[in-house]
Amino acid sequence: MTSPATLNHHKDHYICFQQSLKLLNRMTSCSVVLGAPVRRVAIFGGTHGNELSGVFLVKHWQKNGAEIQRSGLQVTPFITNPRAVKKCTRYIDCDLNRVFDPDNLGRKVMEDIPYEVRKAQEINNLFGPKGSDVAYDLIFDLHNTTSNMGGTLILENSGNDFIIQMFHYIKNALAPESCPVFLIEHPNLKYATTRSIAKHPVGVEVGPQPQGVLRADILDKMRKIIKHGLDFVRIFNEGEEFPPCTIEVYRIIEKVDYPRNKNDEIIAIIHPCLQDQDWQPLNKGDPVFLTCDGETIAYEGDSTVYPTFVNEAAYYEKKQAFVKTVKVKLTAKGLRSSSS
């Protein structure tokens, strides 16, 4: 039986403890952001009709969606460019993943409107409208590349704490396997993607895989990324608090074309030392191109860059041999769902 003196002693400790907790809460809540719960999620495949991992995953999930269901969320798998998928080609008239800008989305529908612009408007109506309150919360857009990029996550906005926290979660879940994050935020190099209609757009780019080929190992890698991404959303919605975190990302700085002659023909190709070396440091003097005559063209920049999208088939016509990036650290504030 405790004496009144002891009780008073405990009470003082208890009051102290409560005051400490309040202080701690105030300190924590300064660095915790409350995010709206994420309820409406879409998974897009076939934005490019010959990038087959996403096409087959989405078609499989449309028949049997158990794997992508999570409590508290609605997850919709969707083929964005069905005609291109049927023809197994990247696009019919123009690249769907470049036409989600305001001009194209607002364009008047005439007879000769490119198929992909019409499609973009339909998709914007179903999953957007872009920029509005009723747009989908989160879209995963599934892509493949012929470049040796592994399983890359693409980030559009360096200030999106929710996505940075998700990427941190996915990277940890996949470790020790690496999961590079590619930041495409740039005044003029950023492009208007299909996924950009959502509040939280996530690009998933897995390679190397040839166009028109379905590899089991690449499919598996993409599947794991989606699994961890959806797990993160469920945990977030259920009230888990994610402390502030930092991730390393590769930020795009410049695109590099192939050397061409005056007839615009390619006169040098990706050097064997650069081929397949996505995300590896490129320093001054390192080989980048090899000419028909067997000469090496070296990188002349003063600082180290990290090339990616090295020798992507679809980028020959976009005049892009590879893309230069720099390593940058991004920090996200602590995060918790506002519904908890």
Partner: protein, 310 residues
């Protein structure tokens, strides 16, 4: 072993790139040789480079109307021109005029065709099953002199099947098939290897023309016996991918009971054949529409008699 065989010297040789418009090694090499032909010149002859399917090359697609490399049968070559025929039928007839006619005395002596595949075949040498002497000696010469790699020989058609590829227009033909390389991509390593193979082949022809005796030999080859399609849904859609254990295992033995496909729900499908076969062209992009997941071959041994020019 048969006695020494004699053949006429080889004077008209052609090298074609871009029979498929998105197989980049051959296209790039031929465009280079059209500007600078010196690499194709030898003492006793010069080889003529040409782009086989210019329209498909321009669009960077395999073909425009139908697969050019399935259009060199007598049925297509002798057919009457029609206004609605596929582009490739007309082109095949043109090529037959320029480098054939197929089966005639005027045809070119040798035609090389340069290909890439998304399959992990490495660098393989493809000949028709009927054309045994000169191409086999050429292959043997490459295997013993071209040290950049290992060069399996593939005999692509069935015994009573007419040779249908572009090189069948000439008296003798050979295809160089290098992979893996995605369609529309140019890899420097395969480009270098393809150039070296062509150079080695032309060296052989030059030596042959100069009277070299090539002794008899035995060689191993892989002979095409059939193909296996993907498991499909009733609507034709794939319901499985090539199994990760089979992927990239071209020319390695596949035994009954080995896994060949995996469904999207995770089930394994095993090889049901009775004997060990050697799969080739495993997961070639262009073969999905031909309903081929991989080709089956069996190993055979060829005895080739000695060869010298007349």
């Amino acid at each position: 072993m048969a006695a020494l065989q004699r053949l006429q010297p080889v004077s008209h040789v052609a090298v074609s790139g871009g029979t498929h418009g998105n197989e980049m090694s051959g296209i790039y090499l031929v465009k280079h040789w059209l500007r600078e032909p010196s690499a194709l010149q030898r003492d006793s002859f010069s080889a003529t480079p040409f782009l086989a399917n210019p329209l498909a090359i321009e669009r960077c697609v395999r073909y425009v109307g139908r697969d050019l490399n399935r259009t060199f049968t007598k049925q297509f070559l002798n057919s009457k021109a029609a206004w609605d025929e596929p582009y490739e039928v007309q082109r095949a007839r043109e090529i037959n005029q320029l480098y054939g006619p197929k089966g005639s005395a005027q045809a070119f002596d040798f035609l090389f065709e340069l290909h890439n595949t998304t399959a992990n075949v490495g660098a393989c040498l493809i000949a028709s099953v009927q054309d045994n002497l000169l191409p086999m000696h050429l292959c043997h010469f490459i295997q013993t002199h071209c040290t950049l790699g290992h060069y399996p020989i593939l005999l692509y058609n069935l015994p009573d099947q007419e040779a249908y590829s572009i090189s069948s227009v000439a008296k003798h033909g050979l295809a160089f098939e290098l992979g893996p390389q995605p369609q529309g991509v140019l890899r420097a390593d395969l480009l270098t290897q393809m150039g070296a193979l062509v150079a080695c082949a032309l060296d052989f022809i030059d030596l042959f023309n100069k009277g070299t005796t090539f002794p008899a030999f035995e060689t191993e080859a892989y002979r095409f016996i059939g193909s296996v399609d993907y498991p499909r849904h009733p609507d034709g859609e794939l319901c499985a991918s090539v199994h990760s254990k089979l992927q990239d295992k071209d020319f390695l033995p596949l035994r009954p009971g080995d896994p060949i496909f995996q469904t999207f729900s995770g089930e394994e499908i095993l090889y049901q054949g009775h004997a060990t076969i050697y799969p080739v062209f495993i997961n070639e992009a262009a073969y999905y529409e031909k309903k081929i997941a991989f080709n089956k071959t069996e190993k055979c041994s060829l005895s080739i008699p000695a060869l010298q020019r007349e």
